[in-house]
Symmetry: C2
Subunit: 177 residues, 2 copies
């Protein structure tokens, strides 16, 4: 799928997923897209775990409460290491966000839908920490997000956004065209 088309077609899908397996080859392509994202000073702070084993998915969904993306046949969990890249600065959030966006676009371009699930995971309930335990993630990595991956069974309505002219300008703040 064309890049600009995939960017427009991406949406935060919260509906039911079809009972159609996600090919391993596709999960690998999605993860390779994530790892191809830039990272601050090329520190590569982002790591990924794709889950397509139904028993592991089931264990993860026990801790994901309230449930999100339960019907998805696969997910990608996003891990970060909050290490300093440069002059006491850590770009881990930028790094994993760029990786996530690449994976969302790759998923769409391969015919899947997904949703960036982060707030839920990093809240006080410590869902992320419990998911990390299930996946055997060492302490120096933090699980900050998961992306359900699957074929959407319902249409996905794109989020309503402010008009272009209220968020994008030319040559000065507020100048349209």
């Amino acid at each position: 799928m064309d890049t600009l088309q995939a960017i427009r077609a991406r949406c935060s899908y919260r509906g039911k997923y079809a009972a159609v397996k996600v090919l391993r080859e596709h999960l690998e392509k999605i993860m390779r897209a994530g790892l191809a994202a830039p990272s601050g000073c090329n520190k590569q702070t982002t790591s990924l775990i794709a889950v397509d084993d139904s028993l592991v998915l089931e264990r993860l969904h026990v801790v994901i409460q309230p449930p999100i993306g339960e019907s998805a046949p696969a997910m990608v969990c996003v891990l970060t290491r909050r290490i300093v890249s440069y002059r006491n600065k850590c770009y881990a959030v930028q790094d994993y966000s760029a990786a996530i966006e690449n994976m969302l676009l790759a998923a769409v371009s391969l015919g899947y839908q997904s949703c960036w699930v982060e707030g839920h995971v990093t809240d006080d309930g410590e869902i992320g920490r419990r998911m990390a335990q299930i996946l055997g993630v060492p302490d120096e990595y933090e699980l900050v997000c998961f992306l359900p991956i699957g074929v959407a069974e319902e249409p996905c309505a794109p989020a309503q956004k402010l008009p272009f002219a209220e968020r994008a300008w030319f040559n000065a703040f507020g100048r349209n065209g």
Copy 2:
């Protein structure tokens, strides 16, 4: 250009740009791609200013020291508002990072190259603040990044990355395949 191809072709270009104008239509497409990125609770914390006026570019490059992307005929400046989206959490960094990644991919797919310039801009030298002043950006917005946009005159070597098997696994940390 195909999405996965654009993701692989993107690189952090630090070479010289050709003296070829970037079409307004293309700058708009690149910014629309940025604004199409998801944002935490759809708060749309990211705004953009494309600069293609050579006098404005010149003024900006006076404050961008040491120089980066000086020969690029255009740039997109990325503004953020660090507002709370949800339960005292602010997703502004995630929001603008996803928008930046979309714009980098859109630029590549339209035949341009670019580079995510952030550390330089947000350092103590306050380059971002001085760029914001030149562009008339109000105080509630912070200029955190700029993307030079132009046709690359030199080849762009992709960053060396760790092997897939050291950053991506299946069903458990460290499990390959």
